[in-house]
Amino acid sequence: MNFIYNIKVKILSKEEVAPNIFLIKLLAPPIAQEALAGQFIHIKCSKDNYPLLRRPLSIHRIDKEKGEIFILFQAVGEGTKLLAGRSIEDDLDIMGPIGNGFNIYPESKKMVIIGGGIGVAPLLALGEESIRQGKEVQVLIGALKKELVIGEESFKILGAKVDVATDDGSYQYKGLVTDLLERIIKEGWLADQIFACGPKPMLKKISEIALQANIHYQVSMEERMACGIGACLGCVCKIKTKDKREYKVKYEYKRVCVDGPVFTGSEVVWND
């Protein structure tokens, strides 16, 4: 386990990049220094103890030079709404960086990165790192409608190829983002690794596709968290592991916060 800081950091900027979706930049040098793509921070959204618990948000971008990290989030409930209401220059109490992060294999050449809705949040840092390492990156973004397509430009600037699917067809392909994945596989563009984050049905479908195409698949999972540091066992998801004797399948509840949030797609028990 890497070291987790609990520090107060300054809010440098805040922007509503899409309806109800906010991008916040934080000055957090020690966290920026150690953060890996796919890790998250655990945030105290209010100044008092209401709401009580912290909220986990992925690290969206890491700027190690400036010591800055970005979070990208949708204001869906009490915690995220309060966070969206915080002022620039405010101090924010955060813990991080937390989690295992994505595992980019040195031998991989081609990667597909798939984000559904706000699920693109942890993927930009991954895209940036992949391209830094010289991989070829195909990004697939799924959203309900045009206004909710996030990150397209950011990925393009990095040099990734980006395709978009919208449920209502208001932008690019009309349909599911998993259709796009099936299409590129059918077209013969075979990635070495697939990475995804988004709604569970999407993640599950990708798992099936990846299995069939025999592509290694990493998925960033979400679960309700209390501690965020592996202590409460609140945030588990069911994982298939092989028994020592190798032939017996064993199930285990693993902690999304520190054993994840990234898991191998084929190990996740989807029907639970």
Binding site: N6, N49, L52, L53, I229, C232, C235, V236
Partner: protein, 321 residues
């Protein structure tokens, strides 16, 4: 004059108040312990605090065999509180001894093991095994969880009946000379009779409260928000109930009482001590502020100094009515 030298002078002028307490025969540097299930196996909090500064650590509830726990979702926030239905997921006592306790050897802080079982035999076997390794692995005492609302068999059923409480505590008492703390449930009509039964059965201290049973429903899916349907309510929301029960038990028994429930700031801890808690345990608050235990230890010291109280033991049960 630089501030540090001023500090030295100051601390030379007045004596620091005494924070040391003894509970169940265990000597603690201060009256602040961690509550079982909220502090992992200790190591999880070492990035945030110096474990050496704690009064004692109570680790995640352990069972004889490893336990998988309940399906997720397992935690859900409620107004000023949370519900959990972990279901005692744990590595089992052998792994605890082999993989978790060694890390804690380097700290000079008593480690208390919280134990649970489905049958009396399991409790006895756990107590025996932990007694066996207690010297070597530094097990200072056992907290007997007879109050877990999240497992079907055992758990809370023991703690809701005075006779069952007596039986289980007494059986463990006969098994081990280790200090025994009986952890009580608030989900009872009359906690005094349960407390008395535990005392008579040979408990060296009582800790309370474990969680209140609660539930939450998702109105869109019309399903319970916790996969286990019900869970245990903890956090600031339950503090008034916990404080009342601690005071009730303090008036009833002669053994020390450990106060638990919703403590998140030093004022809360002081309320429990004034109501009769010799020691307090901090649970849910660790999730909100991983440094909260140390903040509260420092706060208690400050309060004692400001109120010219030389020994925290003087404060225990000092409520005027």
């Amino acid at each position: 004059m630089d501030p540090s030298s001023q500090e030295v002078r100051w601390s030379g002028m007045i004596d620091k108040p005494n924070l040391e307490v003894e509970v169940a025969g265990i000597k603690l540097k201060n009256p602040v312990m961690t509550a079982s299930g909220t502090f992992g196996y200790g190591e999880e909090f070492s990035p945030f605090i110096d474990l050496d500064k704690l009064g004692a650590m109570v680790l995640k509830g352990i069972t004889l065999k490893p336990k998988m726990g309940n399906p997720p979702p397992r935690v859900i926030e409620t107004p000023s509180g949370m519900l959990n239905s972990i279901g005692l997921q744990n590595v089992g006592v052998e792994m605890l001894i082999k993989e978790k306790l060694p890390y804690l050897q380097k700290f000079n802080t008593p480690v208390i093991i919280n134990i649970s079982g489905d049958t009396i035999e399991e409790y006895i076997e756990l107590a025996r095994r932990l007694g066996e390794v207690s010297k070597e692995m530094g097990v200072a005492g056992l907290e007997i969880n007879i109050s877990c609302p999240n497992v079907k068999k055992g758990g809370m059923v023991w703690g809701t009946d005075a006779k069952a409480t007596y039986k289980i505590i007494n059986s463990i008492r006969k098994t081990t000379p280790l200090p025994l703390i009986a952890k009580l449930t608030p989900n009872v009509t009359d906690i005094k009779t349960i407390a008395q039964a535990a005392e008579e059965a040979g408990a060296d201290a009582l800790s309370l409260i474990n969680t209140l049973v609660g539930m939450a429903i998702d109105i869109d899916s019309r399903r319970p928000k916790l996969a286990n349907i019900s869970g245990g309510l903890s956090g600031p929301a339950v503090k008034p109930v916990a404080l009342w029960l601690v005071w009730q038990v303090f008036q009833t028994v002669n053994i020390p009482v450990i106060g638990i429930g919703g403590i998140i700031k030093v004022e809360d801890a002081l309320e429990f001590i004034i109501a009769g808690a010799r020691v307090i345990e901090i649970g849910t608050a660790n999730f909100v502020n991983p440094h909260v235990t140390i903040d509260i230890i420092e706060g208690i010291e400050k309060y004692l100094t400001e109120n010219n109280i030389k020994d925290v033991n003087e404060l225990v049960g000092s409520m005027k009515i």
